[in-house]
Symmetry: C2
Subunit: 631 residues, 2 copies
């Protein structure tokens, strides 16, 4: 077999190959991707589908002088292999030494770090505009998948591209598949274009004013080179619609091991229990599914990311019209939910904290300002070891400061289900629930919250568990779910917006929000060893302050410590600090308040253990700060 890849340390090496050598190179790259993804995990499907297109682009264009913007950039592995980073994919010892997304810190061939969908066309339009303003002659390419095309900003980009007068190539990588399924009438047009070889009269891209070419064999590298060469020097924007096969090279027995286009780290996943996202997501769906027969208006909405949030294939099949995948459309999904809520339906919209950012305005206006009944399930909130484009560390800042939105932060599966029962039942208002994370799951698996659990046992995210771990131990989920359902009514007994004092002590009060509650318990445990009987409080929500409870601490407490697993600036704890600071002055000394949480920064794959140390989010550090103040 050929051995071209081993000699490609940059695109100039690729250009030295003859065009008829490229198919063999593609085979080498594909084999490398398969080995890499099986051992290390990654977005295997999308990368396997675009091997040839990536080779052809770098063969025809001159990166970095010509700018190539990969949408979301999760499909940029081949791009990285061809631009000096191949060893990170061919040498097991170097796996993971480059990120899973394009990154300017790694290579000048990566114009942006991207992890959210749909912006590549807009970014490319900007680079083309700048070039034309400054009289540049470089070319600009955007590579976007058919799934990403359904996201709002991509349409805005197409609309603007239709008015550009300079060189711009938009490669639409059509593999007939979004993350889970494609949704939207637009896909009928893509199908018609594929069926007619791009010749049918209705053509979404031409309707936006764009020139158009169709390539049926999107995995035929020579056909692609021909097509790209033809349009390379156009003086106007053109869409090259290529028909590719997602996951090309995967065998039938890979079914199942590859989930929603993502090949899980087989090695590390082996035998590990299900992560918090899926555990609590499945619990929620189990509870809701039981109500579908009697509540016709109850509907679960997922903007194209069901898999990672415990919305299983089985659930989707059973739910029927009670489940809706809107495609990658967060803005629309939130407005849609607002419409459903206003029309007496009961919407439950589930996605990641980082993706809810895209619908900030709709959450603010259509949802919260309109006081429509509905539930937003926030997955992946709080600090984590994830990459910088998917950080959830700012979720409490974003949701907790929106007027009219009730934000809940459960500290157990039972509390989560009871809050969900409330938000989809009597609440009749806009509610956001922060789905519990690994820290809560660890605590529950360690047997709940024994008073004064030993430190560490219930620290935040006891290990850096991959949220996407494959099955096993889903029993744990259902067990918890069972216990949970029994106590549904109990947990939100009384006013769900009142803080819950789980232990009434004196002198020191520890208030732990959501995922940070176990840590407050642990810190109290350490303080007990110094004969300090600390009060421990579960605030349950972060959209308002329970002033009565806070004032009630003034008599016999000197220090209040707030603990949260997200950004402190603009977050939750600072509100409590400000509350005490602004209390009308009186004789007694003002309450001292300590805030424990994350710095204002976006972290990139920093292990949780490192983050906890950096932010002082450990029972030892918290207890130490308290002792420093009162001893």
């Amino acid at each position: 077999m050929s051995d071209y890849l081993a000699h490609i340390d940059g695109t100039e090496d690729l250009k030295r190959l003859a065009i008829d050598q490229l198919p063999d190179l593609a085979d080498e790259v594909r084999r490398a991707l398969l080995e890499y993804c099986e051992v290390h995990g990654g977005h295997v499907g999308s990368n396997l589908g675009i091997v040839e297109a990536t080779i052809a682009l770098h063969y025809v264009f001159d990166s970095p002088r010509d700018h190539i913007v990969f949408d979301v950039s999760h499909q940029s592995y081949t791009h990285k292999m061809l631009t000096g980073r191949r060893r990170a994919f061919t040498d097991p010892r170097l796996y993971g030494t480059v990120t899973g997304f394009t990154n300017p810190l790694e290579s000048e061939d990566d114009p942006f770090v991207l992890g959210h969908t749909g912006t590549s066309i807009s970014l490319a339009c900007g680079m083309a505009r700048a070039r034309d303003l400054t009289g540049g002659t470089n070319r600009v390419v955007a590579v976007i998948g058919d799934g990403s095309l359904s996201s709002a900003v991509a349409f805005e980009g197409l609309n603007e591209a239709g008015e550009l007068h300079g060189n711009l190539l938009i490669v639409v990588n059509d593999n007939e598949m979004s993350i889970a399924e494609n949704h939207g009438g637009m896909y009928a047009n893509l199908a018609r274009l594929r069926a007619t070889g791009g010749l049918c009269e209705h053509n979404l891209f031409r309707d936006f004013g764009l020139d158009y070419r169709y390539v049926e064999h999107g995995n035929d590298v020579t056909e692609l080179v021909k097509a790209f060469r033809e349009v390379r020097d156009f003086d106007h924007p053109v869409v090259v619609h290529i028909h590719t096969v997602k996951g090309l090279g995967l065998g039938p027995d890979d079914e199942g091991r590859v989930e929603s286009n993502h090949w899980h780290n087989a090695a590390s996943a082996a035998g590990r229990p299900l992560g918090a996202r899926k555990t609590y997501g499945m619990m929620a769906m189990d509870m809701l599914a039981k109500r579908f027969d009697t509540e016709p208006g109850l509907i679960v909405i997922s903007p194209a990311t069901p898999g990672s949030n415990g919305i299983t294939r089985e659930f989707r099949a059973e739910a029927g019209s009670h489940y809706l995948d809107t495609g990658i459309t967060e803005e629309h999904a939130v407005a849609l939910a607002a419409g459903i809520g206003r029309a007496e339906g009961t919407p439950v919209l589930a996605t990641s904290a980082t993706f809810f950012q895209r619908a900030f305005d709709q959450i603010h206006q259509e949802f919260a300002l309109n006081r429509v009944p509905g539930t937003l399930l926030i997955f992946g909130g709080g600090i984590s070891g994830t990459d910088n484009t998917h950080s959830g560390a700012g979720d409490v800042v974003m949701f907790g400061n929106i007027p009219g939105l009730t934000c809940l932060a459960p500290t157990s599966g039972a509390e989560f289900l009871s809050m969900l029962a409330w938000s989809t039942g009597p609440a009749r208002r806009p509610v956001a629930i922060r789905v519990p994370g690994e820290a809560v799951l660890s605590a529950e698996r360690a047997g709940g919250y024994p008073r004064y659990a030993r430190a560490g046992v219930s620290g935040i995210n006891a290990d850096d568990r991959d949220d996407d771990n494959a099955d096993a131990a889903s029993s744990a989920a259902t067990d918890t779910a069972a216990t949970a359902t029994d106590t549904v009514t109990d947990a939100v007994a009384g006013d769900p917006l009142r803080y819950r004092i789980t232990h009434r002590g004196r002198e020191v009060a520890l208030i732990g929000l959501g995922n940070a509650y176990p840590l407050a318990e642990s810190a109290a445990g350490l303080l007990a060893e110094h004969d300090i009987d600390a009060t421990v409080i579960n605030p349950r929500q972060y959209s308002s302050l329970d002033e009565e409870t806070l004032i009630g601490l003034e008599g016999d407490h000197r220090i209040v410590v707030t603990v949260e697993d997200g950004q402190l600036e603009g977050g939750w704890g600072e509100k409590i600090t400000a509350f005490y600071a602004n209390r009308p002055a009186n004789e007694q000394v003002t309450m001292q308040v300590l805030n424990v949480g994350a710095s204002k920064e976006v972290t990139d794959r920093v292990p949780m253990t490192t983050l906890r140390e950096r932010y002082g989010l450990t029972a030892e550090r918290i207890a130490g700060r308290v002792l420093g103040r009162i001893r």
Copy 2:
């Protein structure tokens, strides 16, 4: 002439009219709108264009049983006149007794309060989904203008509508005009559809999988009734594309008095000086225009709202390719700016705080996380007397908590220009500048900041000036601009992120952010009358804390007061409170901090005088709180 309107107290009265009486009713409504808008002001153009369509919709459909969702809802005056609220438009004594947007608190015929574009289709899809889930039989209608169609979420809505199987009517009100101009290749398709009577082969709507009808005479009420009756009971979604004349009924001499579709309150505007938005917007554009010849990559971007931000027709004409109107596309505009910045261009993106909310994710990811050089000009930040869908009270919360984004808050025209010179020059980083508001403008017009200006003179937003007041006194702007430019270099001398101590006193320190700085000065003036020599600080930015300056106050100050004109929760002042609270304990007493600012709420046309009292944002109240603490 006819006298039908006077007898319409609800849509049932409308339905009693014969179809041939509707044209006369339309004339009555149009006359009423003209009188109303000339005296009271309002979105005259869009409302005049859709008079007949609104009458036809209510004649054919049964609101509120059938749901009619008006996009943005600024064009809903006729709808309000026909649904029991006509006197608010026909009786001058009752002008202003209903809002300028649909509002569920006013009528069950208004399903939502809306003020941002593009969500009507998604909201209608939600109402249709809920109906189909619950076996309802009502009809759902979305009314959206061609300008709003360019906004991201509208495309997502069209895409979903293409998959709906129940009744849904989308009325596309095509008046060939957005707020300023239409932008995007899509508009070529709309033009082609108009030219061919809806028969041309390329059809954007059909490509989304939607049924389609075209009505050439969109101001012919009988033709509209016919068209709506035909599709009323369809079992699938249909687009009825109606060609209307925006501003139908306006005379030639109305040119100029009607600006960007908005007829200003002639009465109140008379003789009043230009508002802050236009004054400082014009200053900024004047400065930038001077640099276009020597800086080819410098470009001003406006997502369809140039007029209200001082981006005049003259400027746009002169700027040529240095100015870009992207249409109503905030998400795209921010990503586009990121692309321009990354490609060595210098983007300056200007729009309202409330509209920047739509691009929160792109500001966070493509712009801030990617550290691209670029400037966001935030207009209308802070509390104001505006309606609840356009509140800017949350801008500091939204921008100030985004990691990697530098946020500046100038306190004068000179400081604003110097900061803009910095952000478009040496900064080379993502920067957001909060354009000064009425409070700063009042102070500057009152002769700048005389030490200890009398309270009130420089209170926040001395009067509830309408930002959109027509011309007059634009000289004031240019005068200030002149002074400003001289001091450009001076104002950001040294590190622009350091706080500036404008007066060094003792015991009490007043820190006033941006628009609130004049108030800090005034409060210091009152304290002086009590022999307190208060320190006054202009922090200049709200993205980080100048810890050195804050620590420097500990020696001889007991109280620090933060003053801001936006939401306290999650805002800027609380960060300073938390900073002092979390300082390592030492011998000296902890610093007392008072935070002055707005509550977490969205206000709806509440006069500024009322808001200032409600929030304690007056020199008297601030001085009173300080004296209460130290006396």
